[in-house]
Amino acid sequence: MKSSDVVTDVAVEITGLKKSFGPLEVLKGIDVSVARGEVVCIIGPSGSGKSTLLRCVNLLEEPTDGKIVVNGVELTDPDCDIDAARTRIGMVFQGFNLFSHLSVLNNLTVAQRKVLKRGEKQAQEIALRNLERVGLSEKVNAMPAQLSGGQQQRVAIARALSMDPSVMLFDEPTSALDPELVGDVLGVMRALADEGMTMLVVTHEMQFAREVADRVLFMDGGYVVEEGPAAQVIGDPQHERTKSFLARVLDPTHQGPSA
């Protein structure tokens, strides 16, 4: 797999990560390392902390304890320029979160111009190139509300890519989509993975995880319970909780042993 030839180059290093919301401890000590070019899918039941883990990677959630290093920059260092670091970390949300008052083109150029200080022309060129990558060149002047959910999500991916990130975070990118629109978004993500993008993906799409991920993490109760190659974790889970989760996800009518 492509991860094997760049194992020394670490893109994301998470050590001893803990996160509490008030008295509720959501992450209870996470250690994850992601190599450059690696695609890691995070699966697990709702409430297991997988979205919180992802949101800690670009510090949308402030960790309670632990260390997060992305591209060699320690984000948890109080002196870290988090805004600068975030320009290199693309984030795709479950709810798309396109800027509803801006056209598709401006969604893709606004941060390039205001944050990266790129010129209007350069920003537009980069935006159009990324819009083409997600197959939506013809929507360049549309407003977000005029697009379907799947189209909005692909624009959101193009917006993140326009910042030239070295890591992409996907927080359940297809969970809010109608079933027939999921394929387009997963297709874009698959192409991105094939191009060698480092990706952390929180997802319920087991088929996608199995086919695209280099590694799968199964989370439950604030811990990484099991991790390994996708085929192994999904195809031949070792841990009891992984087994029962997968049984419920892969065959929803199946009554798991814990039920």
Partner: protein
Amino acid sequence: MAMSKRRRAIMFRRAQYALLIVIVALIAVFADWEDIRRSFFNVDTAAKMFPTVIQTALVNTIIYSAFGFAIGLGLGLLLALMKLSPVAPWRWIATAYIEFFRGVPALLVFVALSVAVPLAFGLKFDINSTAGLALGIVGSAYIAETIRAGILAVPKGQIEAARSLGMSPGRTLVTVTIPQAFRIILPPLTNELIMLIKDSSLISVVGLTAADYELTKFGRETLSRSPSLTPLLVAGLCYLIITLPLGHLSRHLEKRTGGRKIGTPESTGLGVSA
């Protein structure tokens, strides 16, 4: 025998129409139209008000209101941001200001600015500044609360998206939060503008020279010379010339922002080019 509910409802509605027709007919027959015309709409009096009522009074009303709204909007935005500040003293100051100026009559502020402040501090404002400041100071207290509500109504995901693209908190506020907040509050903000236009009549407590008359003062002055309701009616209609289109605009904007969802008629066929 007994009428069905449906039938009764129809009969009741017809009875209401019949009653209205009778009332209108009675008024038409018994009213002294000549007297009404004389006291409500004396054409000579109305004609004499033109063109001053437009050229001076309406223009002054618009100028005072425009100054007031500009100051109110600026001050209101500042107060809203103060109220949302993590620094507690800013919030206290903003809250005190808002509570105070929402709680006292606007008239009192006009008098204070035109009489008490010049007396106490030796500052003398011209009429435009007095009207603009008084309207702005009072209006900002209301506008601040509206803007604050608008900022809070911007979905959290929009702010998270901006921050995750590397925008600083200030940049996010200017680029994403405030533009979206103003879209949300355009209808209530238009209402506040209309209220402010009507409050501009309070400037007449200040001694105005004829050139500074706004609509209400002008109407009252004309009234003292030709006692009929006509001057007030003309002044009132002039207010409507401004406020009715604004109300219309507000509803239009409300419809447009509400219609920005998927699948509305206007969302098809737009914005496709490359």
